[in-house]
Each structure stands twice: as C-alpha cells, then as structure tokens.
Symmetry: C2
Subunit: 134 residues, 2 copies
C-alpha cells in the first residue's frame, strides 16, 4: 500500500504459535544461546519457571506483518521500538498487530505495535516508522 | 555481571558475516518473506540493488551480545529501540557493540547499541534497557 492508501486506524495482524523449534532456530541465527531460552534446568530456576522465547523473535513478527501486509513489500523500515512486557512461553500463540497511528511528513507512517498471547495479555509493544512503497 | 559490576563506558561486541542461509532461516521463523530479502529479481529492481538482510535480524545481534556477554545470562530485557540506517547485504560482516550509557534507578542499565559493517559504516543503531542479574 502507498502512503495515500493508508489511513489512521488501519490495522493488520498475524498469529503464530511459538514453537521450541522457532526458538532454537532463532538462537542459531542470532547467536543468542541464553540458557533461559535453551535450558529447561536453568529456566526452571529462573524468574519465568520455564524456557521462554527471545523477545526479539516476538518483536520480529511486527516486521513480518508490515512487510507482508501493511504497508506491504517495497516499504522501507526506518525504526522500531519494543518493550518486552511479559514472557512468551513455548506453545504460546502470539497475535502481532500493527495499526497506523500517524501519517507523518516525508510520506512516512508511524505504526503502533502490540503483540498479545492467547489469554489476551500484552507481551511486546512498541512503535515503528515505515516509508511505504510509492 | 551484576549492576554493581557494570560501569558507564563498559562495552562488549560480536562479529558475524550475515549469510544467505541466515536470512532465509530468519524468514522461515518470523514469516517475513519480503522479496527484498528472498528474491534476486525483485531486489535488483529495488532501491538496494540486491537482496538485503532483515533489519530485525541485524538488530537481534544486540540482544545476543547482551545475553551472552554483558550484562550476560540472567538479565531481563526491558526495551530496545532500533534505527535501520543502512542495508546489510549478504556476505557483509557486521560488528554489533553495546556500551553502558547510564546506570539507571531500579538497578537497570541503559546501553547504546551500534552495528557497523566491514567498512565501518553504521547499519543499525539504538538503545536498550536491561535489568542485570543479581
């Protein structure tokens, strides 16, 4: 979608159950082998009680929604902020939603980003700025 | 490292050559199949001229440095901001560095994050807030 086709309030989302395989693969690609993600033994003694997904894996779903749906391919990703509000455990189903919050100058759009789990609890939230394709 | 062991100016970094395989695997995990990452034909006609890595893949290296080195395992990731300043092409070698910028209240630390390519050009930059392990 172009800048002109977008309106404040427009939104798009994707839903994904975060698997053990996702987390292990994300660790391989990024080099983040923090035992809270990869070790049951360690994670059981942590604040979270069990292994959790990387926050950046969950945050990357926003990037995916923006690239695949709104504004869609051809957009240029300018910035992203993320707050890691609550843990995502293996098997949790995350719905990541982006909503146009502001049509900015220079044909950019600001999007509110919110990811919730299957109980509707916010797990990651933030904002993105994207320059949609012409 | 604990809050007490950290000083403003302390830094840590990791270096990685971003491969085609990294980008394809990141696409599989996140669902971001934007053709600018996965299609030579599409990318050749884009602003970038060739396929580029996902910005969030590069940004995730900061998370990795913080989890693996400083402050290290056991820290809690509170927030991350990222600006995608320049593209990372397949085969580029990225050095991601985090530097303690501020010791905040509530035993949190603010880290400056900067990723540069093999020519020393900044590709992604931002800030993170982490609660180090006790």
């Amino acid at each position: 979608m172009t800048y002109e086709q977008l309106s404040v309030g427009d939104s798009a989302s994707m839903e994904k159950t975060i698997s053990e395989s996702d987390v292990y693969t994300f660790a391989d690609v990024t080099g983040d082998f923090n035992p809270v993600h990869l070790s049951k033994t360690h994670a059981e003694q942590s604040l979270f009680g069990e292994r959790i997904a990387h926050g950046m894996l969950v945050g990357s779903l926003f990037s995916s929604v923006m690239a695949m749906q709104m504004p869609g391919p051809g957009g240029i990703y300018i910035s992203q902020s993320l707050e890691f509000v609550a843990p995502v455990k293996f098997g949790d189903t995350v719905t990541a939603t982006v909503t146009i919050k502001e049509k900015m100058e220079k044909r950019r759009v600001r999007l509110a980003c919110s990811a919730v789990n299957q109980r509707g609890k916010v797990v990651v939230q933030g904002e993105a700025v994207v320059l949609p394709a012409k």
